[in-house]
């Protein structure tokens, strides 16, 4: 060992390759070990690298490639001789310092877990809170615009088959006006209509438009059934669930997307976890709207039970049904049970006369198809 420390280079080393980092010239050099690594070429000494500044760079197997902190950043020494490589490795104590070792990986894992925890906390607590607080602050005008935008799309999807029967429309408007009055909605009344589509559903758009689908109307047996469903939809409007859902869904899908990044198939994963997370949130909103509907029906002196019966007729016992629109709702049998518990004999006048009810049922032409 002492022979190297005295600064003597050993001449019979296999030539080492040196790139000075300023040009691509491949220089054959000899290495000598003194108090620093001496790189010499044809007797000249182009570089001296201090041992503690030497780091290992990536290289194929069988080559030891070195860089030096105090040399140009891309200067490289490539040693292809095992004995020489071993000799050098024993002198450079900080050779492997810029490699990703176990501790670096542990750090990445630790920070990632912290990020995951923080995202989960945000999704579970912060976003619902933000949605609850922000939804009432959304200006009415903006909400109406969102409604108008979705209105155009809905009409495109369902073929724009608005039922225009005058008597039916009048009955529908009367029913909605009654419900609006009882609900105490301060929204300006908007032209609402029945759409001729077999899908059994109804929904309220932000801004106040309430769509009833003929498919649901066809399955209804009396005005109270439809009134309950419409009151439920008005409940969503009153609670501004649309806006809340928009903020909530936007926030969670963004954050969960951030979390899973580009793990292939992540869209399915994002969809699955989002469905799980948002289902509970939307169930809460549905229960709130049901409470509201029960309340409105009581105010009008009618029973909410028919609504439960209509829903049960549509979905059947849940588990047999896979209507995607209703998937995030509470179980129909539970809703029916709840509304049956709130059943009172009617104390108010019927919401629609028999004639009006018949007109509403037949508003889309073919009368009741079923």
């Amino acid at each position: 060992m002492s022979i190297f420390e005295s600064g003597v280079s050993y001449q019979n080393n296999p030539p080492t390759v040196y790139f000075d980092g300023t040009s691509s010239r491949r220089r054959l050099v000899t290495l000598a070990f003194s108090d620093a690594l001496e790189i010499s070429e044809d007797g000249a000494l182009p570089a001296r690298w201090a041992y503690e500044d030497i780091r290992q760079a990536d290289s194929p197997a069988g080559t030891l490639r070195l860089s030096c902190l105090s040399a140009p950043p891309l200067a490289r020494v490539e040693i292809r001789n095992t004995a020489l490589a071993t000799e050098l490795t024993s002198r450079c104590t900080r050779l492997g310092e810029n490699r990703t070792d176990g501790r670096a990986v542990a750090k990445i894992v630790g920070w990632s877990l912290a990020a995951v925890v923080s995202i989960v906390v945000v999704v579970l607590f912060a976003i619902p809170l933000a949605a609850d607080r922000l939804a009432p602050l959304v200006p009415q005008a903006f909400e109406r615009r969102v409604g108008e935008a979705s209105d155009v799309q809905i009409k495109a999807i369902f073929g724009n088959r608005v039922c225009t029967n005058a008597a039916g429309q009048a009955a529908y408007t009367k029913l909605l006006t009654l419900l609006r009055g009882a609900a105490g909605l301060d929204l300006a009344p908007v032209q609402s209509s029945v759409l001729d589509t077999p899908v059994p559903n109804a929904f309220a758009l932000p801004g106040g438009k309430v769509y009833l689908f003929n498919g649901l109307l066809a399955k209804a047996q009396n005005p109270d059934e439809i009134a309950g469903v419409l009151a439920h939809e008005l409940g969503h409007l009153k609670h501004r669930d649309n806006m809340r859902g928009l903020i909530y869904n936007g926030g969670t899908s963004f954050l969960i997307g951030l979390l899973f990044g580009d793990v292939t198939g992540s869209s399915a994963l994002i969809f699955a976890s989002r469905t799980l997370v948002t289902a509970s949130h939307s169930r809460e909103a549905e229960e709130g709207a049901d409470t509201f509907a029960i309340d409105v029906m009581h105010k009008l002196g009618r029973s909410p039970k028919p609504m439960g019966e209509l829903l049960f007729r549509v979905t059947g016992k849940e588990g047999d049904s896979n209507l995607s629109i209703l998937a995030s709702h509470p179980l129909t049998e539970d809703r029916l049970k709840r509304m049956t518990a709130e059943d009172h004999p009617p104390s108010g006048p019927p919401l629609l006369t028999d004639r009006e009810w018949a007109a509403l049922k037949g508003t889309c032409g073919g009368a009741a198809k079923k």
């Binding site: 790139f19 980092g21 300023t22 040009s23 691509s24 010239r25 491949r26 620093a36 000494l45 182009p46 570089a47 001296r48 690298w49 201090a50 760079a57 990536d58 290289s59 194929p60 197997a61 080559t63 490639r65 030096c68 105090s70 040399a71 140009p72 891309l74 490289r76 490539e78 990703t100 990986v105 990445i108 894992v109 920070w111 990632s112 877990l113 990020a115 995951v116 615009r145 969102v146 108008e148 935008a149 979705s150 155009v152 799309q153 009409k155 495109a156 936007g250 963004f254 951030l258 979390l259 899973f260 990044g261 580009d262 793990v263 292939t264 198939g265 992540s266 994963l269 588990g319 896979n322």
Partner: protein
């Protein structure tokens, strides 16, 4: 500590040499371990490890790529990608929000009027692709000199968009010319030290070799098993054409990749995909059987899944296992093996022209990679 000032030696004039063969020296087992470990860490870190895994993969591929006996090197780091990603998010989030609001305004007037916004995102994606390439190129070192790039991401982006329209209008017919034009732009702005890049491939040549695939493509969409063959042929032709068009100063690349050279790789991935899906199917069946056995036998069908927490957890585990193992398969076959196979086909002519290149060029930030990740257009 002391680096003695270097006197630039006189430039040697090497005689014209026979072409040198590029080669790949990577150990397959090592890459497999790297990919498998990376997939596991991606799972543990909920995907955040992707920045380091991408870096590890590139470091492995680059440092085992030998040209004229000297290996390249990748000097990018995972942390740079993470920071680039965070910066990109800080810019993308307000853009997404604006996109959402503008979308609402546009939809009010006409349904699906937000199409121009989708176009804007496509253009942004092309910008990201260019900038990500610049990041990767400036981290690519060979013989102590880095590659680098100038040019403008936006100038590239509008070219890509206009050519994209043309390709759509001609039902894909114009694709070779689009690729040639975009490669010309990219290579013209790529440098190795002070050697400027150039792309001499022509759309016409590409079309001459690949037009048959263009004719067959509609049939392959109907006849599923034909599709991987077609795609593999197309990729092989594309690689060969692309590599053979690359120039750096006097250095000329040439590829002799056989058109059928990649078919095996794609079929192996498909084979593994079916095998893994089959294994997961068996796993699900066993899980369901065990749990119904324990739980009194009333749980059956997909509806029961949502009510049965252990079954749900086991399903998620199975699904994640499937995705992670497929990720490893894809990385081994379609990154490492494909890289190696393509590289073996490359011959470098007149490498002497790169024997004394002066280092030049600045490092580019990883912001472009962050955009590419955020917009899901990431490449290698």
């Amino acid at each position: 500590m002391t680096s003695v000032p270097i006197v630039p030696p006189p430039a040697p004039q090497p005689p014209p040499l026979p072409p040198t063969q590029a080669s790949f020296a990577g150990d397959r087992g090592e890459f497999f371990r790297l990919a498998a470990r990376g997939a596991g860490l991606e799972l543990v870190t909920a995907g955040f490890y992707r920045f380091w895994l991408a870096t590890d993969i590139r470091r492995h591929l680059w440092s085992n790529t030998l040209i004229d006996g000297d290996a390249a090197e990748y000097t990018g780091r995972g942390k740079e990608l993470l920071i680039g990603f965070l910066f990109a998010m800080a810019i993308l989030v307000p853009i997404y929000l604006a996109y959402f609001l503008i979308g609402i305004e546009a939809e009010r007037f006409k349904e699906f009027a937000s199409f121009p916004l989708i176009l804007a995102f496509y253009a942004f994606g092309q910008f990201a692709i260019y900038r990500a390439r610049r990041y990767r190129l400036t981290r690519t070192i060979w013989r102590g000199v880095r590659f680098w790039m100038d040019g403008s991401g936006w100038a590239y982006s509008w070219r890509a968009v206009l050519w994209g329209f043309l390709v759509m209008a001609t039902l894909g017919f114009a694709l070779p010319w689009r690729e040639a034009a975009l490669e010309r732009y990219k290579m013209r702005h790529s440098f190795y030290g002070d050697l400027q890049g150039e792309f001499v491939g022509e759309g016409k040549e590409f079309f001459k070799r690949a037009w048959g695939l263009w004719v067959l493509a509609p049939f392959a969409l109907v006849l599923f098993p034909a599709f991987p063959f077609l795609y593999a042929y197309f990729k092989a032709i594309e690689w060969r054409w692309w590599l053979s068009g690359i120039r750096f100063g006097g250095v000329r690349l040439e590829s002799k990749l056989e058109p059928g050279a990649l078919i095996g790789l794609y079929w192996k991935v498909i084979g593994w995909y079916f095998l893994a899906s089959f294994a997961v199917g068996i796993y699900f069946t066993i899980c369901a059987a065990i749990i119904t056995g324990l739980g009194g036998g009333h749980a059956a069908g997909p509806a029961a899944l949502t009510k049965n927490i252990p079954l749900l957890v086991m399903t998620v585990i199975g699904y994640l296992g499937l995705i992670l193992s497929l990720n490893v398969v894809i990385r081994v076959y379609l990154m490492r093996d494909l890289w190696g196979r393509v590289l073996q086909s490359v011959q470098v002519h007149n490498i002497g022209a790169a024997a004394n290149v002066t280092a030049k060029g600045e490092l580019a930030s990883a912001l472009g990679e962050g955009f590419a990740d955020g917009l899901d257009v990431a490449g290698f």
